[in-house]
Symmetry: C2
Subunit: 656 residues, 2 copies
Amino acid sequence: MASFSQIIHAKAVQIGKLSVQATTAAGSGHPTTALSLGHLTTMLMYHAMRWDLTDPGNRGSDRLVLSEGHAVPIVYAACADLGVTFLPGGKARRMTVDDLMTLRAIDSPIDGHPNPMVGFPFFDAATGSLGQGLSVAGGLAAAARVDGIDKVIYCVIGDGESREGQIWEAMDFIADHKLTSVVAIFNCNSIGQSDWVSHAQSTEMLARKAEAFGWKVVTIDGHNPTEISAALEQRKAAVAEGKPLCVIAKTVKGWGSPTNQGLGHHGTPVAAKDLDKVLGELDQTAKELGATGISADEINKALTIQPPLKAPAVKVAGRPRTFQEAVEKAKLGEALAKNKLSPRRAFGLALEALGDSNPNVVALDADVKNSTFAQDFAKEQPSHFFECRIAEQNMASVGVGLSAGGKIPFASTFGKFFIRALDQIEMGIISGANLKLVGTHIGVTLAADGPSQMAIADVAFMRAIGHAKDHQGNAAITVLTPSDAVSAYALVLEMAAFPSAVYLRALRAETVSLYGDNETFPLGGFKVVRKAAAGKKTLVIATNGYLVHTALSAAKKLADAGIETVIVDAYCLPFEAAELLKLAGANGGKILTVEDNYTGGLGSEVAEQAARTAQVKVESMFVENLPKSGKTPEDVLTYVHLSEADIISKATRFVG
Amino acid sequence: MASFSQIIHAKAVQIGKLSVQATTAAGSGHPTTALSLGHLTTMLMYHAMRWDLTDPGNRGSDRLVLSEGHAVPIVYAACADLGVTFLPGGKARRMTVDDLMTLRAIDSPIDGHPNPMVGFPFFDAATGSLGQGLSVAGGLAAAARVDGIDKVIYCVIGDGESREGQIWEAMDFIADHKLTSVVAIFNCNSIGQSDWVSHAQSTEMLARKAEAFGWKVVTIDGHNPTEISAALEQRKAAVAEGKPLCVIAKTVKGWGSPTNQGLGHHGTPVAAKDLDKVLGELDQTAKELGATGISADEINKALTIQPPLKAPAVKVAGRPRTFQEAVEKAKLGEALAKNKLSPRRAFGLALEALGDSNPNVVALDADVKNSTFAQDFAKEQPSHFFECRIAEQNMASVGVGLSAGGKIPFASTFGKFFIRALDQIEMGIISGANLKLVGTHIGVTLAADGPSQMAIADVAFMRAIGHAKDHQGNAAITVLTPSDAVSAYALVLEMAAFPSAVYLRALRAETVSLYGDNETFPLGGFKVVRKAAAGKKTLVIATNGYLVHTALSAAKKLADAGIETVIVDAYCLPFEAAELLKLAGANGGKILTVEDNYTGGLGSEVAEQAARTAQVKVESMFVENLPKSGKTPEDVLTYVHLSEADIISKATRFVG
């Protein structure tokens, strides 16, 4: 009878061979990285993890986050061998080895890197842009804690990948919150893409770093089943110490195939002509390990997969309190009456209201909760609040993990600081994550703090992705820029109810309320906040955020000068620009867009629609020079040529 | 006679009081953070640093990078006290205490956070978006190494800020390259913005982490002049060990003013009514330390600033070899003849040519140099090449530091991975950095690797900033997407010669050469690669990169169907879209834009221009669904509705 180790070796060789075959069939991919993970993958997927092959996305199951996404052929190989359910063409069935050979094909769910939304629910998140998986694992662990479920989240990270700072943000986050359900496994095959990994990413250095970050560290031979088993067993001791477990696994890139080891084999499939030779090398390795001639029956008996835990029940959301109720609860009636309520304050109220009514809502902060007003939620819902400190990339990816864990994660910080997490946000969108991002202190009207704190390059990026449809057919991300507290409150509730990603931009400034309590703000819509008097020269001014107020003020002076303006609060991107064109058609045929961000936002949205038919003229005003500090919003608006006087001047020339 | 410590205390109190006064005058800012740095700033700026008050940007001087930019009032206060040269309104003069009181005003160079380009050359980079300064310091140190100058770069980092992963990327980078001219000083005042810092950012944990990252660590009382002196002296021992020095300085937020200590004082200026009281507390603290009644003369005598080292000479660039010469040198003539030369390969050739001709060019890589072809430069110019490993945020900010050190930094990686560094890039642009970014493997035609590796959200962001003028009056960043090896080569040379930031997107795919060797590609221009035959229905198709080839192929079939097309290679954004409109005016009055990225790029550029006059109609094709892996570029182009057939269909309907 074969030993347990021999059985693991046999399986590792089997799925290793499949990985090699699949990448050769695909003509691209990373077989040598896959081979370095043969044993670890086998130990996790065939033995340690509690999960259901027919329901791989089950939220009661242990999870595997493959942060070094390019290693994915080894996981696909295991899934093909196990017959895991996947969704080719949207229809669920069990995966076969033939399916594995469709790796990277356009009609296959077996994407080049983990990509759950194309039909592979075993994964919780798209990975491959490196350094993000451990944060996702942290988010899954946070969701499990909220649900009170004791599942384990394994995360495999490459040694070269561990150079990404986000890994260390995640190491801090997980240790800080004692999310001991996470097991981080560093796959140390010592070779990056273009060279050996740095000394800084050696097993010794990684172990020292992980210890310094407060983790319990075990260093093992990642091809030794006994050592892997013993390492995973250490989680209990780690939990007792209140520390998450970090396994530093020494592995061999191209394990089992001597001709594929050393430099020069990263991301290089075995040529078809060499395939038999390489598979033979793997067989020879198996033989040397006494891992040949074991019957499938014996292997299957030894490798039994335990079922998942009971999945947490889906919780039903109640009705959040209305804006007026929220204002009363917070005793802000007087502030509101005095127009002393900022959109960011309204966000805080709405988040608090969601916390009281929707048990699925969780919140993340990057040490600015007293500025964003996420602090009220933090105080009232401590079990649903996760302080991420000053580490926005980790915060975004934790949100992805929380979403995969069934939560509605509201992550908030200054809008400017989401810019450093745009790749993580994009990966979250690819993952189908229900991200709710709230960026405060937006635009140049932040003024005094200067350009290092101003979100003005955020809009173009978000709107660009927003014009792609996500896997549900929604705008992949919707961008909201409310102009007052009423609309900010309403839009936060809208975004919570919408099933796709949304980014809301909340002004720091206190603004005059433009809307009554019963006004609704559908996503994709806009509001006319001023109509034109008949019989005069007319112009439509479309704007949003702070500048709605500037435009309304300009409108009065323009009217005095004989120019009537329709003022539109275009609070949403993408939006029904065609409807705006109709409005312009009936009001002079000209639209002036005004926004205090760089181009690529509202002006582009309207111009793109208008240029299709060339019937309405569009001029746009946006930030065309690099801003600086100024004591007041008006100082900086003047500096970037977006003051009331600039609007009046531009509108006057445009109307002609 | 006062002791040296008493003199430092006296000066720390003096500039601390000025910081408090300045923030009160501004009505915003961070006096308590400033107070925590009083002694460290004094020790550095009045004693340790070798620099020239009248030439604070001198490249022979020691540098101070204030990574926690919000602490800047303490540096401004020192500069006002010292009479450092700054440039209000662009004119150089010595700063006064009155100038200090203009903090954060729109017409003052004393911005809310360090912002050298508005007239404060003491700083090398804009900071304030946290976590970036240590990388900038690494870049300054790398430049100093290239120049063979032994200057010291001090970098002050907040304890809360050290949660940012980029700090740890920089710790790795600096230790890896033994850039021992950097001294990292962690200002551990133990209070973040909204709370006490995490245990993970305690002095003990930071010290353990820094040691684990390979630094020599000294923990001191950051208000004890003797300890600060001794700590800075440790750099010699650190250098001998081949390690950079890390000083963990325990400080007090609101030092010297008991009523401004503890939570609740971050970013909060002292109210005018409380100012005298707080200044009195600081005087009282000085008194308790025996630091009152010391004459200005005695202080000045004790605090003598040593002059800078000799600044490195500016080096003159020669003529880089031509494309044809480069092809010959690399023996790629046959590949070129067979149309087997990719734009990324051409980038590698051009970078190598720049290395041979321009001693100011340096290159950075993120462990993909074998894919980007930066490896040839790496081999030939090892002293000018800095491997950054898989840490793109650090790479971008190291580029900012290299630029401040007088270099022309070419940083290259997959275009997708620059997205995680967009905030760093934006901060670099604000800093006036001469960044040369080359993103390879762009667009959906990367195909097999899938969306985690595809740069398709990059264009909108870059173009948006590109429509703002930088401090030289240039596009703040120019986006280049060449369609073949010839234009890629030429554009890399163009970008090297241009003094502002440029982002070049280089295809992975081998493409047919469209241009002769003598073709020029001015920034802001475009190329007509196919003209329309007269007398037929005509349409202008504007595109770039891979899709130029697809459009050319579609053009033939459209011609067969009676539709003549002008094909435009719009390789640059922003560009002279008005010229394109003229061309369209003479060719049917319609433009179809085609690009394999999300919207916000070429289509928006053309539509914005067209919508101004509403005389030319513009339809646009771009990526409107989330891509996935496919085996060939055509598979994925079809998946995202950008195939040749899609172009033909859209063009046919558009022409009508």
